[in-house]
């Protein structure tokens, strides 16, 4: 019944096309033949198996942080602290993994390390969560301040003993490594894409199902929609907010699966930095569900990889401009579609009925 190209999707594609045009103009400004830049981007991303692998690799942290931000947002919380949460989790779990015995089988080592990452990420987010829930201090302020705290803490912790040379931890135990995709798909050889990508997709779907189906998940969303109603109906608003924040931090912490466990094999200062903020854009674009979220992460992953592909000719910062244009145009497309529903006599196809 529903056509695949709904007006909303047409707009999204149009927005993407618009971004391509802008990029063309921009590269023209740098003295490049426009289509040539496009060609180079294609070759560096979706045009070759290696490029695809790199896009998937870039998308891993973005998807994790996108899911993380989205969970908190459901409860009406703005967790800007993914950046600090993922950094703390990366260091802690990286260090922990380096201390594991070399002979430990992966079925034991990997879950342990991932659990430590989630625990530390969640615990670091819990500080901001508790301050919001108990004291009413806004999480935007606290989570930004906690990001800065992590910025100061990490070099100190590495300097006083968690590192081998002051900037990086010792290599993680072999059993804790997340295997690269090239093991199954040889054409990905050389790219850093690992099993962390399918894991991130599974997490996105699992979290979505959990928020739709579980009691806590549904109450989280209600708290985000109308906290006063929840309070009057006996839902523990403070506790649900706390839970959302902790879960958000824990998922943010999983980011280290892609960077520490799937790529470098150790933690070093700055590894994964920036994903915490890009994740916000991913979450905003991918608000519809796990499929949209994954597509959004792939889009930003593509842009990040494209920046590297054209770096030799066009400054990589140009991709930052394109990223901004994408966010702007996609936002405009989403807004236009939401207006559609308000104005048109026949609203766009209604969502499925519950019950």
């Amino acid at each position: 019944m529903t056509p695949i190209l709904t007006p909303a999707r047409q707009r999204t594609l149009l927005a993407l096309a618009g971004a391509l045009v802008v990029m063309n103009l921009a590269s023209f400004g740098f003295g490049e033949a426009p289509l040539e830049t496009l060609g180079r981007i294609w070759a560096g991303t979706w045009g070759t198996p290696y490029g695809i692998g790199q896009v998937l690799f870039k998308a891993i942290p973005l998807l994790f942080t996108g899911v993380a931000f989205g969970v908190a947002l459901r409860a009406g919380l703005f967790n800007i602290g993914s950046e600090g949460q993922l950094a703390m989790a990366s260091l802690a779990a990286g260090f922990f993994a380096s201390k594991l015995g070399a002979g430990l089988p992966w079925v034991v080592a990997l879950p342990l390390v991932v659990a430590v990452a989630a625990l530390v990420g969640g615990a670091f987010a819990a500080i901001a969560g508790a301050m919001r829930a108990k004291l009413g201090v806004h999480e935007i302020i606290t989570s930004i301040m906690l990001n800065r705290s992590a910025d100061v803490f990490l070099p100190w912790a590495l300097a006083v003993g968690l590192s081998v040379d002051g900037v990086r931890t010792a290599p993680v135990a072999e059993g804790a490594r997340v295997p690269p995709l090239e093991r199954w798909f040889p054409s990905f050889t050389g790219s850093a894409a690992s099993l962390a990508f399918p894991t991130a997709v599974i997490v996105a779907f699992a979290v979505h199902a959990w928020t739709r189906r579980s009691r806590i998940g549904r109450e989280l969303e209600w708290v985000g929609q109308a906290a006063t109603v929840c309070e009057a109906q006996g839902i523990d608003v403070a506790r649900r907010r706390m839970q959302a924040m902790v879960l958000s931090g824990a998922i943010g912490g999983l980011t280290m699966m892609g960077t520490v466990l799937g790529y470098k094999g150790y933690y070093e200062l700055g590894l994964g930095a920036g994903a915490g903020f890009s994740g916000i854009a991913v979450a905003m674009l991918g608000r519809g569900g796990p499929v949209q979220l994954t597509l959004a992460a792939l889009l930003f992953g593509t842009l990040a990889q494209a920046g590297i592909a054209i770096n030799a000719r066009v400054p990589r910062d140009a991709m930052g401009v394109i990223e901004a244009v994408v966010i702007l145009l996609m936002g405009a497309a989403a807004f236009a579609s939401s207006q559609d529903e308000v104005k048109s006599p026949v609203p766009a196809n209604r969502k499925e009925t519950a019950g």
Partner: protein, 538 residues
Amino acid sequence: MVDAIAPRIELVGVSRRFGERLAVERMDLVLEPGRIHALIGENGAGKSTALKMVAGLVAPSEGSVRIGGEPLASVTPRAAMDRGVGMVHQHFMLVEPFTALENLILGVEPVHESAWSKLPLLGPLLFGGRLDLDAARTKARALASDAGLAVNLDARVSDLAVGEKQRLEILRVLYRGAKAILLDEPTAVLSPLEVTELYATLRRLAERGHTIAVVTHRLDEVVRFADDVTTMRRGVKVHAEKLDADARERATETIQRLTRAMMGGDVPETSRRPPIPADAAAVLELQSVHVAGVGSRCLTDVNLTLRSGEVVGVAGIEGNGQRELETVLAGLVRAESGAIRLDGAALFTDGGDKAAMVRDARARGLVVVLDDRHHDEMILDATVSDNLVVGDLGAGGLATSSAVATDEAAVSSRRFERFAVEPRDPGRRGRELSGGNQQKVVMARALDRNIRALVLGQPTRGVDVGTAHVIHEAVGDLAATGAAVLVLSADLNELRALSHRIVVLSEGRIVAELPPSATDEAIGRAMLGVTEDGEAAA
């Protein structure tokens, strides 16, 4: 003020479709200048939608809206406003932290003019735009005194009482030059005295040539104040008449006629209150309860005992402790002193957190429906089926762990059917429902809980006659099973129909206790705190 020459407003064969549902079907309607036109009908009959099409808020699916003979240029509130049509919504559209005057001029701010600001291009940018609040105040004062609308222009909107907010809304559309004023259920939130005042204002405006249209559920006020009445049922206009002196004279007959048209049949009489046995035990007791508050919004030394099977009504001017009474019983605020007991056992004694207090009271059978539907009862962005179970997940019968049990669907659909919520689709968002249907959802959820004592804040505000009747019946049935019911309502007829006795709150105190047969005047005097021999509470 120049006397307004209001446009004649016509709906010609207008339909409006929402999804598969026809909210309004091929409707013809004429609103004449100088007259008060009442639009009545059950919840979801399409009254509000019809007016919203006139106000440019909703586009007709077919047919045309003509204002002064011409169709609207575009479907926007601004286009309608340019043609002199303004709407006052059921839920106020005011910026709470702004003053009344600031709300008044929002979007049409008057600015100081100077020669510099007339320079092309940069003139207005650099030299224009300084607010001329004095000009605004002068204009607002003139309009207000002319229409008889008392509004404190310099007070913050958050400090205004409901009636004053509404006067401000009316003043705002007048300020924008509206000659036709559409009001969506303006009296749902008003006390009887304020209703009379509102219609006096509307009459004055009509006499000056304004076109007035009012959506309402209260047939008594239609008969008393309206000139024309149009009745809608399920999107279709089913009845229209002009109300002359004769129709007003025979008010009861007229109301019956209108009710039949609205319902497509007769409304059964509300059942009599069953008598309370002499030995009925006390169920809900309040003993010298104090709740701190601002001004008259507090409770002072409130003593009240509800016995098994008893329905007690609470009357009072809004903001005299009703909200505090509801919230203290809901467990949302803590009494400073005093005791609240349910079936003899004290409630809210331990120092648990708010959510625990709310849940504890409910688990023991004290169910409260707060009066502010959108603030406390209905999640507008959640589906109706979700709203029907909010707060009940994890309670007996529903999910007991993190996984939601399958019988939630059964509970949800049982509640959905109880008051036949319209539209017949539990997947709709709360905000897609009319106010009355939202109330049906809220009431169905509350009444389905295990109840020893029920506290209802404005249970039928904005609800049509038929549904109000069903809700009243349910309250009666509940009392017959031995539960105690406390009803807080601005509608004295409702209190009379339901209660065994009526207590009156004034400035946070119970100042009078009256039989349901008490006259409006007697109750009204008590509301104003005028005590009288023999009627004042000890």
